[in-house]
């Protein structure tokens, strides 16, 4: 059976060059980077190389990159580290309704501790309103956190403008760039962000590795306490192989950036065009301007997403859905809710994300099968275009 993976925003395979770079650090080059003998220094050097490669991808000084165990830890550190550091100054945080749960649930936790959180909504284009953001700032605001690219609908936020507003009000600004990294150009200096979360496994690196960019001169409280790793900012023996892999993946993302974006957006556009033209009662959620190059979020009216997912899976195709039925919490997608998509349509929403290994033949295979699946499920459905919901 053909295998077509269209869930690159969930995770990506580790690229062969990345794996090859990692392998020696499991076996021969296994030294603890904190050790002072050659074997340790060799590992430390590998980490420095990785740090420099990630710095180059986002135009940061390598000293501003702090490795974490993934995007979630980076988000948690940014929020809790800022909340603790600035607890004398204030207790108000501004974020959005469409953040990743790593941010939303961290903020909810802080609310229980007495912090106040403003969750900004989004417009039909998927972006926050800058006026609304500015109006939400009070003298108690200590942090603004807005994700760069949304994981479900792929829409890009006006980060540079948000950073300027934060700076004008002397409020720290953090952005979750997990989906953005390697997919849209990022220059932290030009954008003016104070902190930025990144993840390795979304850019063809290994899972369990990430980083938090912290602007030079900014000090937030530590989140993990222990040894003096990461310049005494993040304790714990470094995930050496993970860091080496992340570094290599970042280097490849930097070198192949243009062709990656071109490849993904062409295939994504081809997928969207064929689905919208060949399958009735479908629409794309979120604007197609300024969007993650690989993301297509499509609603198939009158049917339910988990059923679509299961039938595609049966044919070797991997996608994800915003349907409540597919989530452990049975809650429909909070992002599509914030976008104003009616709940019955959220249930029928599928996210397709293409990546470097996707081919045009893959898309053809998916669309041909999708046509049959949607037709079959609509035959099964008590709601349809004639009867309405």
């Amino acid at each position: 059976m053909r295998n077509v993976y269209l869930d690159y925003s969930a995770t990506t395979p580790v690229k062969e060059e990345v794996l090859q770079e990692m392998i020696p650090y499991f076996t021969e080059k296994f030294g603890n980077p904190s050790s002072l003998y050659d074997k340790g220094l060799e590992s430390k050097e590998a980490i420095d190389t990785a740090r420099a490669r990630i710095g180059k991808l986002i135009n940061a000084d390598p000293k501003e990159i702090f490795f974490t165990a993934g995007g979630t830890e980076a988000d948690n550190w940014a929020v809790f580290g800022t909340a603790d550091k600035l607890k004398e100054k204030g207790n108000h945080i501004i974020t959005t309704k469409i953040e990743h749960h790593a941010m939303l649930h961290s903020c909810e936790f802080l609310e229980k501790q007495g912090y106040e959180v403003t969750y900004l909504g989004i417009g039909p284009d998927g972006r926050i309103s800058l006026e609304e953001l500015e109006a939400a700032i009070t003298d108690k605001t200590i942090l603004i956190s807005v994700m760069m690219v949304n994981n479900e609908i792929g829409t890009v936020q006006p980060i540079k403008e948000i950073a300027a507003i934060a700076k004008a009000h002397k409020v720290l600004f953090h952005t979750d760039a997990v989906q953005a990294l390697g997919n849209i150009p990022i220059d932290v200096k030009d954008l003016g962000v104070d902190m930025m979360s990144m993840s390795s496994h979304k850019i063809y690196g290994p899972k369990g590795e990430g980083a938090l960019y912290i602007r030079k001169g900014l000090r937030i409280s530590n989140y993990l306490h222990g040894g003096a790793q990461e310049n005494s900012r993040r304790a714990g023996t470094e995930n050496l192989t993970g860091i080496v892999g992340f570094g290599k993946a970042a280097e490849l993302a930097d070198i192949h950036f243009d062709e990656h974006v071109k490849h993904c957006s062409e295939l994504r556009n081809y997928l969207v065009e064929r689905v919208l033209n060949e399958i009735p009662d479908t629409h794309v959620n979120g604007t197609m301007d300024a969007r993650h190059p690989g993301n297509a979020n499509i609603t198939f009216k009158y049917i339910e997403g988990e059923s679509i997912l299961l039938m595609l899976n049966y044919l070797g195709i991997s996608v994800s859905t915003g349907s409540a039925c597919s989530s452990k919490s049975l809650e429909p997608s909070h992002v599509l809710s914030a976008l104003g998509v009616p709940v019955e349509m959220i249930h029928g929403t599928v996210r397709f994300t293409v990546g470097d290994f996707t081919t045009k033949e893959d898309i053809d295979y998916v669309v041909e099968n999708l046509k049959n699946i949607v037709e079959k499920l609509r035959m099964l459905s008590p709601v349809n275009a004639q009867k309405g919901w």
Binding site: A324, L380, P382
Partner: protein, 150 residues
Amino acid sequence: MALYNDTVMEHFMNPKNVGELENPDGTGTYGSPVCGDMMQIQIKVEDETIVDAKFKTFGCGSAIASSSMATSMIIGKTIEEALALTNKEIINELGGLPPVKVHCSVLADKAIKNAIYDYAQKNGKVYAALEGYDPNEDEDEHDHDVPEEE
């Protein structure tokens, strides 16, 4: 490793009794697309026995599979027997569902009840199991308040 067992997948991929009857003796619906699951069941009754049943379902894999299974189970049963059918029996016949999905099969027994209620109303029939039954009652049994895993 799969989300559903083979029996559930078979009833999902190749559901039985899909569609609508030409002259149904009773039609019942339950749920709504807003909840994520909606099911319609129609029955044909002869001499107090359900001789045919058809369904249409908007919903996830387990909702479709349990619709297929439930309609298969009531065909050939008397009205009284069909009214006694429980979710548990439907789930057992499917070989089990993931715990988080158990609510989906609630649709089937409610939709069957509603179809029989419709039949009873149209034909002036009275069944002990339907005494005080309100097909439009709050759908609180079909709630989605499953505690999230920490």
